[in-house]
Every structure is written in structure tokens, then in C-alpha cells.
């Protein structure tokens, strides 16, 4: 689906922002991109759909080389959610906003209207509402709805949950997760390690423009070397599991922790009962 082959990128006046990065993301994967501020995460995401072109190396999406394909052509099958929804919203109604993005991919107006109605229902949005009068979380949802209405096969998310409260964050992430379950590939930047632990299955870690970690979320979240180099703190449950030692090494979720602690408490109770 997405392939980076020895990609480097630098802005005109700066030293390399992305340096010799190679990886491949397959269809249906849910990948999180982690790293400290200034590591080059947003730059890397912009390289994925041709908003930026690599200085050297090759980026291909579904076989299309981003250096030679128009961004608007790549946008036909990719969706990109920016941190700031206000850069995307440009219509006076929620309905108009969702329709606007569809104009470029669906020539048939009735199909556009059907797709818009479907999206409004999925997100429980009021089509006649004024998007600019809504909260940031709601505007982020509208921006996401407008992208998802286009049914992209690759979804690029630049910190989709920044500025959202817990409920809004879960609503957005559950929609993304459901889409991923239906086959959409998701590549997401996030600083929220709990969100990454709960939803992503693979993690890429960027530090100083270099890829320093690539693997299953369970492994990377428990790799102290990679986490330290990228100035990251693991999610709470993996952190607790690491603190508790090797016997908790495989624990990653709240349910797993609850099961293990429960089993141990039961075993201890039984052994205490036997001794007494």
C-alpha cells in the first residue's frame, strides 16, 4: 500500500528533516508513528501523499510514485486529516462541507447526496449546522467525516485526537478503528500513548529524522532503549508491567492485567488456605 525506499527530505534552508527512511505498510494495517516534537513525523506523513516530494529515495502509494503523480490524483484514494480542522472546513453547512470533498471524485450528484447522508448518519451530525460555530472536537469530527465520506483506502491522520476530550477522542478513534476493521489502511501520528496502545497494531518510531524502531506495538512499547531515544513514555499498563518484572512481561492491556492479577490473587489465596 505504502512504501518508503531510502527516503530523505530536507526543507530548503534546513539540514535533513527525514534521513534515509525505509519501511512498507501493507493493506489493512493500523500503524502509529511516534516521536518527540521536531522528529519529522508531520513531514514524513506529508511525504506519503505527495504534499512533499522526497529529496532522494522513492515514496510510492499503491504503486504510484509520489514524485511524479499529482497530489490531487493521489488524494482520490487517500484521506489526510490535519491537526487543525479549520484549515479544511470551507463550507457554511456540515452538509456542504461533506459534499465539497465528494465533488472531486463522484460526478453523479445523487450518489454524492446518498454518500453524504450516509456519512451524516454514521457520525450523527446535523447537516444544516454551521461548522464554524461548533466546538473543536466537533469540527475535527466534521473534517474526519468529510474525508471518510470519500472512502479512502489509505487514511493518514496527523494527531487526530489533539485537543479532544476523552469522549470525543474515543468517538473518533472508534470510527477509525471500525474502518480499519473493514480494510482501510491507517497511518497515524499520535502523542497519546494510550490511544496508540489501544488501537494501533504496529509502531514506527522516528527520532531526529531517522527511523529507530519498527515493530508490533507490544514490542516497541516495552523497548526501553527505543523509548528513551525518542523521549517517549510507554502507556500506563505496559509501564506498570515493566515495573512489576519479567513475570508480567506479556501484559499489555487492562484486561490482561486484571486477569493476571486476579489469577495470582486466587492462587495466593488458595496456597494460604492450604497452609493454614
Amino acid at each position: 500500500m505504502l512504501r518508503f525506499d531510502r527516503v530523505s527530505f530536507s526543507y530548503r534552508t534546513e539540514t535533513a528533516t527525514i534521513s534515509d527512511v525505509s519501511f512498507e505498510i501493507g493493506e489493512g494495517e493500523f500503524v502509529a508513528l511516534l516521536g518527540e516534537n521536531g522528529a519529522g513525523k508531520s513531514t514524513l506523513l506529508r511525504l506519503c501523499n505527495g504534499l512533499l516530494r522526497p529529496t532522494s529515495g522513492r515514496v510510492s502509494v499503491r504503486g504510484y510514485d509520489t514524485a511524479t503523480t499529482k497530489t490531487s490524483a493521489i488524494a482520490r484514494f487517500t484521506g489526510f486529516l490535519f491537526q487543525n480542522p479549520d484549515r479544511q472546513i470551507c463550507q457554511n453547512t456540515v452538509y456542504g462541507e461533506i459534499m465539497f470533498g465528494l465533488e472531486y471524485i463522484l460526478p453523479d450528484e445523487s450518489e454524492r447526496r446518498r454518500r453524504t447522508d450516509e456519512t451524516l448518519a454514521l457520525f450523527s451530525l446535523d447537516g444544516l449546522g454551521d461548522p464554524f460555530g461548533l466546538s473543536r472536537g466537533e469540527r475535527q469530527q466534521i473534517a474526519l467525516a468529510a474525508i471518510l465520506a470519500r472512502k479512502p483506502v489509505l487514511l493518514l491522520l496527523d494527531e487526530p485526537t489533539t485537543g479532544l476530550d476523552y469522549r470525543e477522542c474515543m468517538t473518533v478513534m472508534e470510527i477509525v478503528s471500525n474502518l480499519n476493521a473493514e480494510g482501510t489502511t491507517v497511518f497515524m501520528i499520535s502523542h497519546d500513548m494510550e490511544v496508540v496502545a489501544d488501537f494501533a497494531r504496529r509502531v514506527l518510531v522516528l527520532s531526529g529524522g531517522r527511523l529507530i524502531g519498527d515493530g508490533p506495538v507490544r514490542r516497541i512499547m516495552k523497548d526501553p532503549g527505543v523509548l528513551r531515544e525518542a523521549s517517549l513514555l510507554p502507556a500506563q499498563i505496559p509501564a506498570l508491567a515493566m515495573t512489576l518484572g519479567d513475570s508480567f512481561a506479556n501484559i499489555f492491556t487492562i484486561d490482561e492485567m486484571a486477569d493476571t492479577v486476579g489469577q495470582r490473587a486466587l492462587a495466593r489465596q488458595t496456597s494460604v488456605g492450604k497452609t493454614s
Binding site: 534552508t13 504534499l51 490531487s72 487517500t78 484549515r87 479544511q88 472531486y104 468529510a146
Partner: protein, 256 residues
């Protein structure tokens, strides 16, 4: 990322001039273009602007700015051509459109003036921090601080708006809007809906700035304060004499 009207840090002789000298120089370069109707003189002013940019270490930015304005100027030139019908005909197009010698010369003068007069402001802002402009307006030109603040804030916001517009265009391109088209008319048509998000984000940003200034006691200022002092040197005097000479030559009609 530097917009074309933002300050570029440096220590060139131009950077070290008194801010007032730089403002006068910018005004003199602009004025000379409008005082003279001579194409060669205006071309020389454009060349002088480029040399000054080069001396301040900003030639790459100046050339890229100039090239982007040249594209716009080409459109202006063509439009202008069609509106001037008086003079000696040199060419007749279908639909009875006649190009005249005077029309061509005036259109050329028009775009040269446009190019030459936009560069000095960019030059001045690229070598003068906005704070220095504000200080000079208040201290030397006796402009009330409130108005100086408005002027400098407007100058500070231009690159921010330009960056915001780039961000908006990027967001729209990512959802399939064809800003990467080569068709200029189509591009303009696509830009119109984007005025909405630009306006909204600009108003939000300005409102935040106003609230922030208010919370830091903007309205409570009763006297001027500022630690920076600027001194006139030999370079300032030289530049001011050169500016006076340029304006005099342009106005005198020595070079008609």
C-alpha cells in the same frame, strides 16, 4: 519557514542601518518608480533592489518573489493591453482588438512600476525587525503608539496569513482539490471558497492577539517605554543622500 515579508536575521550593513533610514530608503525606491516614466530607470531600480537584497543575503528569496510577481504581472500586462486603444496601431487581433504602441509601452511601464514598487517594502521588512519599526514610528516620527502597534501588527500578520493560506491549500489539495493544476483560471476559481477558512482563522487569530494584549495591560500604557536606542552613522547619511539623489533624478525628468 520564511514568508516574503518576514524578517531574516543577519548582520549585513543593511541590517545595521537605522530603521528610519531603511524606511526612507524603501519609500524613496517606491517613489522614484512613480515619479519617473522611464522604463530603463525603473529597470535600474529593480536591479538596485536585487543588489540590496543580495547585500543582505536574501537574493534567492528576492528572485523567487520577483519570479512569482512576474507571472502575475504578465496577466496584468495582457489585460492592460486590451484596455488601451489610443495610439499608433501595431497589431490587430480577431474581434477587432487593436494593440497600440502606446498601449504596449504604458502596460510595460505599469508592470515595471508594480514590480519595482513591491520589492522595497519586502526589502525593508526582511532587514528590519517589526519591533524596531514600531519603536521608530513612535520615537522618531511621533506616531501615537496605538497606531504604530496597528501598523506593525498588520505587517507581522501578513506572513502568518500567507502561511495559513498555504496550510489551507495543502489541506484542500489533500482532499482532492486540484491546486496542482497548471490552469491559472481554474486555480483562481478553486481559491474562492478558501477565503472562508482564511477569514475565519484570521479573525480567530486577531481576536486572540487582541485579548492577549488586553490581558497584558495594553490599554493601561500612559507613557512610552523601550530600552532600544538607534544611532545615525555615516552609512545612514550616505544612504539618505543617495536616496535624495535618486528621487531628484526621477522627478527632474533628466531621464525622460
Amino acid at each position: 519557514m520564511n514568508g516574503f515579508l518576514s524578517y531574516v536575521n543577519g548582520s549585513s550593513p543593511l541590517h545595521k542601518l537605522h530603521p528610519l533610514t531603511k524606511m526612507v530608503m524603501s519609500f524613496a525606491l517606491c517613489a522614484s518608480c512613480f515619479l519617473s516614466g522611464n522604463h530603463v530607470l525603473i529597470l535600474c531600480v529593480i536591479g538596485l533592489n536585487l543588489c540590496l537584497f543580495a547585500s543582505a543575503g536574501g537574493i534567492a528569496r528576492a528572485v523567487s518573489t520577483l519570479l512569482s510577481f512576474v507571472k502575475f504581472s504578465a496577466v496584468l500586462f495582457v489585460l492592460q493591453l486590451f484596455f488601451i486603444k489610443d495610439g499608433t496601431p501595431i497589431f490587430t487581433l480577431p474581434l477587432g482588438i487593436t494593440l497600440t504602441y502606446e498601449g504596449v509601452m504604458f502596460s510595460l511601464l505599469f508592470v515595471l512600476r508594480f514590480l519595482a514598487s513591491t520589492m522595497p517594502l519586502a526589502l525593508m521588512l526582511s532587514v528590519t525587525p517589526v519591533g524596531d519599526i514600531s519603536n521608530v514610528l513612535v520615537r522618531n516620527l511621533r506616531v501615537p503608539y496605538r497606531y504604530a502597534f496597528v501598523i506593525t501588527t498588520a505587517a507581522r500578520f501578513i506572513p502568518l496569513f500567507s502561511e495559513e493560506m498555504s496550510g489551507i491549500m495543502e489541506a484542500q489539495t489533500a482532499r482532492g482539490v486540484e491546486f496542482d493544476t497548471r490552469n491559472f483560471i481554474k486555480k483562481i476559481r478553486l481559491l474562492i471558497p478558501l477565503c472562508v477558512p482564511l477569514l475565519i482563522s484570521s479573525v480567530r487569530r486577531i481576536e486572540n492577539s487582541a485579548i492577549s494584549a488586553e490581558l497584558r495591560g495594553f490599554n493601561l500604557r500612559t507613557r512610552l517605554s523601550g530600552y532600544k536606542r538607534y544611532s545615525f552613522g555615516a552609512n545612514d547619511a550616505t544612504i539618505l543622500i543617495a536616496c535624495a539623489a535618486l528621487v531628484a533624478v526621477s522627478a527632474s525628468g533628466i531621464w525622460p
